[in-house]
């Protein structure tokens, strides 16, 4: 049949490197050309974008967020503040990973902490038992988390979504209970003396921020690729996706494995940060908090999810003055936010940027 090769030039603009959602082949930087009347205005709609909307681009929002993270230690560099900020950065990475599974692909995973645990334990065990530096454990961490993703995903991803939630919840618990009962993982007391990645807490914070920033950009780029679109096709309508030639099972597996890798690498940072891990760090509550960060920020919106993760991890610390009431206040605040903004703090756009 006649392919699109014989079409008139559609004038899709030069590629841009911007990180705005689902922008493909349409520049978000640079002024729209006014000389040639673009064939695509009129029904194809959308005039030049306002400065405000440009500032909301992921690229600018992301750079601003990164700047805040890099400058924060100059404002407050007490060990406590650094520790809170480092934990927040790691939590952002977890949320970015879960967002691939839940936000992009629409798979409700209630046991995401399993991958966090697998990463933390793999690097923890290898570094303490074999005396390896943490970086040397990374290849093994990648292999083990990918295998964990495949093993947990293979049976569960064939299930309908409501069953999926229950089964992933079960797998999360199985990993924790296993860690609790094995000798190699140190049983209930866990693993001590995990080496750090760097000399001190300040440098570790900066390394963490850098890795997490790369992880966030990577997740966003995956989301805007052929694979990322396929994830959303599956989320929106699995049958229609299949009818277009999308192998939905493989695509879901890819989302699950990507989520596993993000979670596993966050686990490595977690072990390096605290130098000790135990099964109590990997409870269902942790899975629920990451999921909350994704939902609070706006499912499928990388900007929103980063904001959601920072809020979820930092807010309880800010509420410390309320002592015993702080988790009550935390819960009430979350409920209020979800009532006022059910789509999340900074939801994904379904409109794509036009020229």
């Amino acid at each position: 049949m006649t392919g699109p090769g014989d079409q008139a030039p559609t004038g899709a603009g030069p590629d841009s490197d911007s990180d705005s959602d689902s922008t493909t082949g349409t520049p978000t930087t640079g002024t729209p050309s006014r000389g040639i009347p673009p064939r695509r205005t009129g029904p194809r709609g959308a005039g030049p974008r306002s400065i405000a909307s440009r500032l909301m681009d992921n690229r600018w929002a992301g750079l601003a967020g990164l700047l805040v993270a890099l400058l924060a230690p100059f404002v407050n560099a007490t060990p406590y503040a650094l520790s809170v900020m480092t934990s927040a950065a790691i939590f952002v990475m977890l949320a970015a990973g879960l967002n691939i599974v839940v936000g992009y692909c629409g798979l409700l995973d209630l046991g995401y902490v399993a991958f966090f645990a697998v990463g933390a334990y793999t690097s923890g065990v290898l570094s303490t038992r074999l005396g390896l530096p943490l970086v040397a454990t990374l290849p093994a961490v990648l292999v083990v988390t990918v295998i964990a993703g495949l093993v947990i995903g293979a049976p569960t991803l064939r299930l309908r979504s409501d069953y999926l939630a229950i089964v992933t919840l079960g797998f999360g618990e199985i990993i924790r209970v296993t860690a609790n009962n094995l000798d190699v993982t140190g049983g209930p007391s866990g693993i001590y003396g995990i080496p750090g990645l760097t000399g001190g807490p300040v440098s570790f914070y900066y390394v963490t921020v850098l890795i997490v920033a790369l992880a966030v950009v990577g997740a966003a780029r995956l989301g805007r690729s052929r694979l990322g679109r396929a994830w959303r096709f599956v989320r929106e309508d699995e049958d229609a996706a299949e009818a277009m030639g999308v192998h939905t099972y493989k695509v879901k597996m890819a989302a699950y494995v990507a989520g596993a890798i993000w979670g596993g690498l966050a686990g490595v940072l977690f072990g390096a940060h605290l130098s000790a891990i135990s099964p109590t760090s990997f409870t269902f509550l942790q899975s629920a908090l990451v999921l909350m960060a994704v939902v609070l920020g706006g499912m499928g919106s990388i900007r929103g999810v980063v904001v959601g993760a920072v809020v979820i991890s930092v807010l309880p610390e800010l509420l410390r003055d309320l002592a015993d009431y702080r988790y009550l206040a935390f819960g009430v605040l979350l409920i209020i936010v979800m009532l006022v903004r059910p789509q999340g703090l900074w939801p994904a756009r379904s409109r794509e940027a036009a020229q």
Partner: protein, 283 residues
């Protein structure tokens, strides 16, 4: 694989052979056979619940037939998963619009280009030239097919925001972007007004001119008789006629199925008018 007498070389594009499908003992399709040649338009008609949509689902891999075979150019595709059938050049639309509602109209049509874009995870992470090329081509092709179906609405906004008639067009554009050899349209004119129906008729003709064969489920008899080379009639899962429109129109069993016995021409016209615009609830 090619166990029948037909050779692959001159086998019809699609052949459905003695298809049977039962749901818990209830026969939805009871022995359906028909063929579709290259660039041919074949319509499947019949009252609601006759098994038309189920037949589409069997051909496209959504249902596994209880018995019988579906062949594409002589190759047995029975029981392949839908994405594998799509990869062989079969595209479809759904009776109840199935767009990716929260995604942009362009993204919806990009779905059709999914199998043609060459791009791996590293291309996506590093934004390699291959990534850029793939994305650009996908976008250009999406625009091309939206132009082809004559979409007037906003392409950058979410698909759910378009009016119903426009959504129908987007679904066809999405299927065409798959660049199929065979297109299955399940009631593409249902719920459309008179003008939109005429445009759909024109669109179906233009698709055929591209060399695409079409199987059409449609209740509007005027449209069916106008556009099809052949008409297959189903009634309660049973095939009661298969032939050129003029022949099928006069077939006594068809007349009976639509009208009950002893109908005269006036009643046939009346029935045609009433089935036109009919709906049914199947998936």
């Amino acid at each position: 694989m090619n166990s029948t007498v037909k050779s692959t070389a001159n086998a019809p594009l699609l052949s459905v052979e003695d298809l049977r499908l039962s749901f818990g003992g209830v026969l939805a399709i009871d022995g359906l056979s028909f063929g579709v040649g290259e660039a041919e338009i074949v319509s499947v008609i019949g009252p609601n619940g006759a098994g038309k949509t189920s037949a589409f689902n069997c051909v496209t891999g959504f249902y596994r037939p209880t018995a019988g075979a579906v062949r594409l150019r002589g190759r047995d595709i029975t029981g392949l998963r839908p994405s594998a059938v799509a990869a062989l050049g079969v595209a479809r639309t759904f009776q109840n619009l199935r767009l990716f509602g929260e995604m942009s109209v362009l993204d919806n049509v990009r779905a059709g280009t999914h199998l043609r874009i060459r791009q791996n995870v590293f291309d996506a992470l590093l934004h390699t030239p291959r990534y850029r090329r793939g994305e650009r081509e996908s976008t250009e092709q999406a625009h091309h097919w939206l132009d082809f179906v004559g979409l007037r609405g906003d392409r950058y906004g979410p698909a759910r925001a378009l009016p119903y008639g426009e959504q129908r067009r987007v679904e066809i554009a999405r299927a065409l972007a798959r660049e199929p050899d065979l297109l299955l349209l399940d009631e593409p004119a249902a719920g459309l007004n008179h003008g939109e129906k005429a445009e759909t008729l024109d669109l179906i003709r233009r698709v055929r001119e591209l060399g695409v064969a079409i199987v059409l489920i449609e209740h509007d008899m005027g449209l069916v008789m106008d556009v099809s080379q052949r008409v297959v009639v189903l009634n309660f899962g049973r095939e009661i006629a298969d032939g050129p429109p003029d022949e099928v129109r006069r077939d006594p069993e068809v007349v009976e199925a639509y009208l009950g016995r002893d109908a005269d021409e006036a009643e046939i016209e009346e029935a045609r008018a009433s089935v036109a615009g009919g709906r049914d609830g199947g998936a």
